[in-house]
Amino acid sequence: MIVTGYVLEIAQVALALLLAPGLAGFVRWLKARFQNRRGAPPWQPYFELRKLFGKEVVMSNNASWLFRVAPYIIFASTVTVTLLVPMIVAPLALDGMGDLLMVVYLLLLGTFFLALAGLDPGTAFGGMGASREMTVAAIAEPTIALAIFSLALSAGSTNLGRIVTQELANPAVTVSPGHLLALAALFIVTLAETGRLPVDNPATHLELTMIHEAMILEYSGRYLALIEWASWLKLTIFFTLLANLFVPWGIATTFDPAALTLAVLALIVKLAVLGGIVAVVETRVAKLRLFRVPELLGASFVLALLAVTSSFLLK
């Protein structure tokens, strides 16, 4: 039983790694379709990874060892997160290793090193990207924390497995106003944290408007591959969180193979739906000016605060 649990953990990591490029490609493809473009096929990111891993690395002469270490740390921290987020089964064997706060701070670890790596080659673009990334990350932080508070309130824990199982046991919670408000808040944060429109344009070619892309301008080869993969993984994680924390149905609570298969399917469907929503949003809204981003995140903070207070009142 215990062994199965650990095997499932590894399987989940593998699944996440496998799904992540596909999800990103799917959103890209869908977006292209919405924009009446043909677009690259959804599996294009897999080709990109193969291409990047096959290329040599060209490094800036100003960069230091940090530049070389950062991709590994970013990738490792993101992968660690997938050990904690229940994707197909809840609670996970390693559920007690980390809770939502651990997830958030592990992701922050990646962001931290990404921003440092952006500064390392000494280009203005890298600095600009790092500065903006950290600004957005910092301002998004309180919303995440309050969303966690709100979830913890109803579930009585910040450990993800517990939240999911609690919700499954008590479905009424999921449609409570507090929950919905928290969902909305977390959705906005997801857009900001994963570098989607209207905060950042993942497809931009204009350096001055870049955030994420500006930081990784100097990266190439396998380093770039790791970073890109990690960022897709991050997208997957956030989507999974949105999906499984707010709409937990379909997730397996036993190690029954049938339930697990169903769970994988449910996960893919949920991710696809969320990908669709994001594609719609990205098609409909324009990118915000950088200095209006705090207003957006401020709004999400208010939503999250309302979520918590309404949970308080209804408790």
Binding site: G54, E56, V57, V58, M59, S60, N61, N62, S64, W65, L66, A76, S77, G96, M97, G98, D99, L101, Y105, L106, L108, L109, F112, A115, L116, L119, D120, P121, G122, T123, A124, G126, G127, A130, S131, M134, T135, A138, I139, A140, E141, P142, A145, L146, F149, A152, L153, T158, L217, E218, R222, L290, F291, P294, L305, V308, T309, F312, L313, K315
Partner: protein
């Protein structure tokens, strides 16, 4: 354990006396360092032994100190802070050996050595003081020795002013503490022992208890650097020698935390919810303002000093939450809050000490504290860079380092806020959670700036280009603290129960040693949440080893080529094109413009021929801190104005002087006759 105490005092004593009496400067430095290491090491061992054994050490010498006698008592709380002092004292002492070498011939090495030992001695005894006079004597001596250390570089601009602010603020706090202790000692007894105070606190009128608490918060807050009493901190820490900054930031300000806990929790035995709410509010504001001002700082040490303010805020958030929970009888949650505060105390001591030592090495190598003149140091001083990076990651609460653990504990305590039956109080908790999260996010942003601008990219000045790695003693000092950051991050499962033991019995808190431990995990009470930084750290490590391995197995292209930085088609990358610290912080400055209210000055010198050609552009921007604006400047002006009025008494006119005598005579006669 008494012999350890003797060794400790003797160590410091030998260090101080040796520094004062020895001839050659090498010997002076060696004496100061070795004395301090012996003393601080003994302090560390004494504290640890006490924590592990739980025995209380009591010493009473009535011949020293008139009136009340000299009383020492080492209990768990004191022992914990003693460990903190020892933990930081040893590396700092080691570091000072290398660092103060540069002072030779410029400043008095004797004074530095003696005062360093004196400071450590008073700090170490401070946490054992068991009556008011002993406490106050040590407190004031500590402030004074720290003061002489702060003004070491007295010929540098701003040093004396900073020293003045420091001693002034700390003395105002001291005055509050005198009042606080004496109010608490009550009416009749000559004794000012803490035991008498504990007994007296029970019968004290509620109003007096409130006054005691407020005075304690004020007095200890001024030492801890609580907003708005923090003004001295960003002035004094930068100008002090860096190992002293580390010590001040790491332990001296923590004495404020110690005192606050000792008085509110131990002596007063806790209080109403509003005490905790006030501490929580003050802590939140302190944390947020601290980090916000840190973001705008480009003086590396000032930036760190503002982060000390921030971290004191975080500690106070934990303590405030603990006090609130305690007042509602939620003992497990209360303990969690206090543990969070205490854990953050030792964590902050280790990573902030490390960061200040790192900043000191940079200062040592480049001669500047201005980040805009640094850059590229990671290549020239790789060890310092690594250590500084560890410190930066730790202070940004990144797992698996120690900052994360304590912030997690504080977060967990705050998340328990919904258990509070009074909604008006409970609603403060989510707000605090939000602010704490914002604080930690901003701190991460700030340390990306601090590390990125100072250590990465191209050197921005000649000095930075020719920087050199710090000498061995300094590197060892930093290494010890870096290891402490890692160890404290990975081993919370053993630290947290110890802290539970420290708190057991204080203010009626239960012994929770068994509740908080769960194999290699840390668990919030009642199974609310659990986390294991140990496993996460291990996981990260395995992954970091595994990824390259897998990549090799998959035959990933492993070639690497070094080339010019891509400059958008531009050729030649110069430091002037780099992003600066100012520009890095610009987005946040815009976001929080309401708070900063920056004043901008832009003067453009056009070419005489055409206004499309610019000869020079001068841009300067200044931020006057909020509390200078609304509190200190008006207060100082008021005192000056009163002073001007009072000085008019001494006009020089003898007739007027005689008039005073006559008037007071007649007034008093009238009073004597009719009142």
């Amino acid at each position: 354990m008494t012999w350890l105490l003797v060794v400790m005092i003797a160590g410091y004593g030998i260090g101080a006396v040796g520094a004062l009496t020895l001839g050659r400067s090498l010997f002076v430095r060696a004496a100061a360092t070795s004395g301090a290491i012996i003393g601080a090491g003994a302090a560390f061992i004494l504290g640890s032994a006490n924590l592990l054994s739980g025995q209380t050490l009591t010493i009473q010498i009535s011949d020293i100190l008139p009136i009340t006698g000299f009383a020492l008592r080492l209990d768990g709380l004191g022992a914990f802070f003693l460990v903190v002092i020892g933990l930081l004292g040893v590396p700092v002492a080691l570091y000072s050996f290398g660092y103060s070498a540069a002072y030779e011939g410029r400043y008095s090495l004797r004074l530095i050595g003696a005062m360093l030992n004196g400071l450590l001695l008073t700090l170490s005894l401070q946490v054992m003081a068991d009556n008011a006079l002993t406490f106050l004597l040590l407190w004031e001596t500590m402030s004074l020795s720290a003061y002489w250390l702060v003004v070491t570089e007295h010929d540098q601009p701003g040093t004396l002013q900073a020293g003045g602010w420091y001693i002034a603020m700390t003395h105002i706090g001291f005055a509050a503490l005198v009042a606080m202790f004496l109010l608490l000692s009550g009416g009749d007894a000559m004794s000012t022992s803490f035991a008498a105070m504990r007994a007296n606190a029970l019968t004290l009128a509620p109003l007096a208890r409130d006054a005691v608490f407020l005075l304690a918060l004020f007095g200890f807050g001024s030492k801890a650097g609580v907003v708005p009493l923090h003004v001295w901190l960003p002035m004094a820490h930068p100008v002090a020698p860096s190992h002293v900054s580390a010590l001040m930031s790491g332990v001296v300000i923590k004495m404020g935390i110690y005192g606050l806990l000792r008085v509110t929790l131990d002596l007063l035995g806790g209080g109403p919810a509003w005490w905790g709410a006030l501490v929580l509010a003050v802590g939140t504001v302190t944390a947020l303002l601290g980090v916000l001002y840190a973001l705008m700082e480009h003086d590396l040490k000032r930036l760190l000093a503002f982060h000390s303010v921030e971290n004191i805020g975080i500690i106070l958030i934990g303590i405030g939450a603990g006090l609130i929970f305690r007042s509602y009888g939620l003992m497990a949650l209360a303990t969690l809050g206090f543990i969070g505060g205490l854990y953050h105390t030792i964590n902050h001591a280790s990573f902030k000490g490390l960061l200040f030592l790192g900043a000191g090495s940079v200062l040592h190598a480049t001669g500047t504290r201005n980040m805009e003149e640094m850059g590229g140091l990671i290549k020239r001083m790789p060890w310092t860079a690594l250590f500084f990076l560890i410190g930066a990651a730790a202070i940004s609460a990144l797992p698996p380092l120690n900052g994360f653990v304590s912030e997690w504990l504080v977060f967990q305590a705050l998340l328990g806020g919904f258990n509070i039956p009074v909604p008006e109080v409970a609603v403060a908790f989510p707000l605090a959670v939000g602010m704490l999260a914002l604080t930690s996010g901003l701190a991460a942003a700030c340390f990306v700036k601090a590390f990125g601008i100072s250590f990465l990219a191209i050197p921005r000045s000649h000095e930075a280009e020719h920087a050199h790695e710090a000498p061995l003693s300094m590197r060892i000092g930093m290494a010890i603290l870096a290891l402490a950051c890692i160890a404290l991050g990975l081993a919370p499962f053993s630290v947290v129960p110890l802290l539970g033991g420290v708190l057991a019995g204080l203010g009626g808190l239960p012994d929770t040693r068994s509740v908080f431990t769960l194999d290699l995990m840390v668990q919030a009470p009642a199974g609310f949440a659990q986390v294991s930084p140990t496993w996460i750290g291990l996981g990260l490590l395995i992954l970091l080893a595994l990824i390259p391995l897998v990549m090799r197995l998959m035959h990933v292209n492993r070639k690497r080529r070094v080339s010019d930085t891509w400059g958008c088609g531009r050729i030649g990358q110069t430091p002037r094109m780099e992003y600066t610290a100012t520009s890095f912080a610009e987005p946040l400055r815009r976001v929080f413009a309401e708070l900063y209210r920056p004043t901008k000055e832009l003067s453009i010198d056009f070419h005489p021929e055409s206004k499309y050609f610019v000869k020079s552009i001068k841009y300067s921007s200044r931020i006057t801190p909020l509390f200078d604006r609304v509190l200190y400047d008006p207060l100082l002006r008021l005192i000056q104005r009163i002073s001007r009025q009072v000085r008019r008494i001494q006009t020089g006119s003898l007739h007027l002087y005689l008039m005073y005598v006559a008037v007071i005579l007649i007034l008093l006669l009238i009073a004597a006759r009719w009142f």
